[in-house]
């Protein structure tokens, strides 16, 4: 197992590459998703404000 992590002495290079890939891929998934959810909640707030206004007319 430790041999696997050691990567024949190149551990720093190999794992930093894979780690970097993981970070980049995660960010490109997470950030748009967060924006999406933010927009959705903004719209929901606007909708409930609007329907409150309508109800009070």
């Amino acid at each position: 197992m430790s041999e696997f992590f050691a990567m024949g002495g190149y551990a720093a290079f190999v794992w930093s590459s894979y780690g970097l890939a993981a970070i980049v891929l995660w960010l490109n998934w997470y950030l748009p998703r967060r924006t999406h959810q933010q927009v959705l909640s903004q719209l929901k707030r606007r909708h409930s404000k609007q329907s409150n206004l309508d109800r009070n007319k």
Binding site: M7, F13, S17, L20, A21, N28, P32, T35, H36, V39
Partner: protein, 247 residues
């Protein structure tokens, strides 16, 4: 892939269908990633010359492939935007740019990290890395121009032209840089210039390439849905999403 655009051209339709596909794509992605990583990190033998450091290739090469593929996809969207002004194409174009730029950055960074054990330095002006660097600037130009123009529909068309001009230039730049490189440096030993690569390394490589493709579609869907909501926030179908009848 091309018919796909025509079928899902309407934003609300795309929004719904993309939403349904996301969980399946995620599952497919995980499957491909697990098998690709296992094949590349565990099953494939160490390289005769480079030992285990060559395993960076399973990230570097698929990332480089994706960086080129996405730029071409953006140019294709660009043509659709200029000719048909399809809203969905605009959104796909601009959402692809950061993903493509990320892959380009990843290809550059992993190429650089790989270079250290392979060539002894963190950076060499080898033809492919230099071309990737210029490609990164092309991506940043697209993102920058889109940010600079306020009206996003106009921005999409400007960026479409830039993408089309860029894609014509990519082979020219690539060829020029390769030519330049052959002049100024001896032949750089890049591992996979040889046509034959052992299948135990090829299969994980292809699996990772496929995984990155699926990832692109997944990240694109995610990003496009948010972008569509933002752009169409005042439209009826978005209102109906919230079950309301406000305008």
């Amino acid at each position: 892939m091309f018919l796909w655009f025509h079928k899902f051209a309407s934003p609300p339709h795309f929004y719904r269908i993309a939403g349904k596909w996301i969980p399946w794509l995620t599952a497919l992605l995980l499957l491909l990633l697990v098998t690709g990583l296992y094949g590349g990190l565990v099953l494939a033998p160490p390289d005769y010359q480079q030992g285990d450091s060559y395993r960076i290739i399973f990230i570097h090469v698929p990332a480089a492939w994706m960086s080129l593929f996405i730029y071409v996809a953006m140019a294709f969207c660009g043509i659709v935007v200029i000719v048909w002004r399809m809203k969905l194409a605009e959104v796909v174009l601009i959402c692809s740019a950061p993903i493509g730029a990320s892959f380009t950055f990843l290809a550059l960074a992993t190429g650089s990290i790989w270079g250290k054990p392979m060539w002894g330095t963190w950076w060499v002006w080898d033809a492919r890395l230099t071309s990737e660097l210029i490609l990164l600037f092309l991506y940043l130009g697209v993102i920058g121009l889109h940010n600079a123009i306020e009206d996003k529909r106009i921005a999409a068309r400007a960026v479409a032209i830039l993408a089309i001009v860029g894609v014509i230039n990519v082979p020219i730049i690539h060829y020029s840089v390769e030519w330049w490189n052959s002049l100024h440096q001896g032949p750089t030993v890049t591992k996979f210039d040889k046509p034959s690569i052992h299948w135990s390394m090829l299969i994980p490589l292809l699996l990772m390439a496929l995984a990155f493709q699926v990832y692109y579609v997944l990240a694109l869907f995610q990003s496009c849905r948010g972008e569509l909501l933002k752009r169409e926030r005042n439209s009826k179908w978005v209102a109906e999403l919230n079950g309301g009848d406000d305008v």
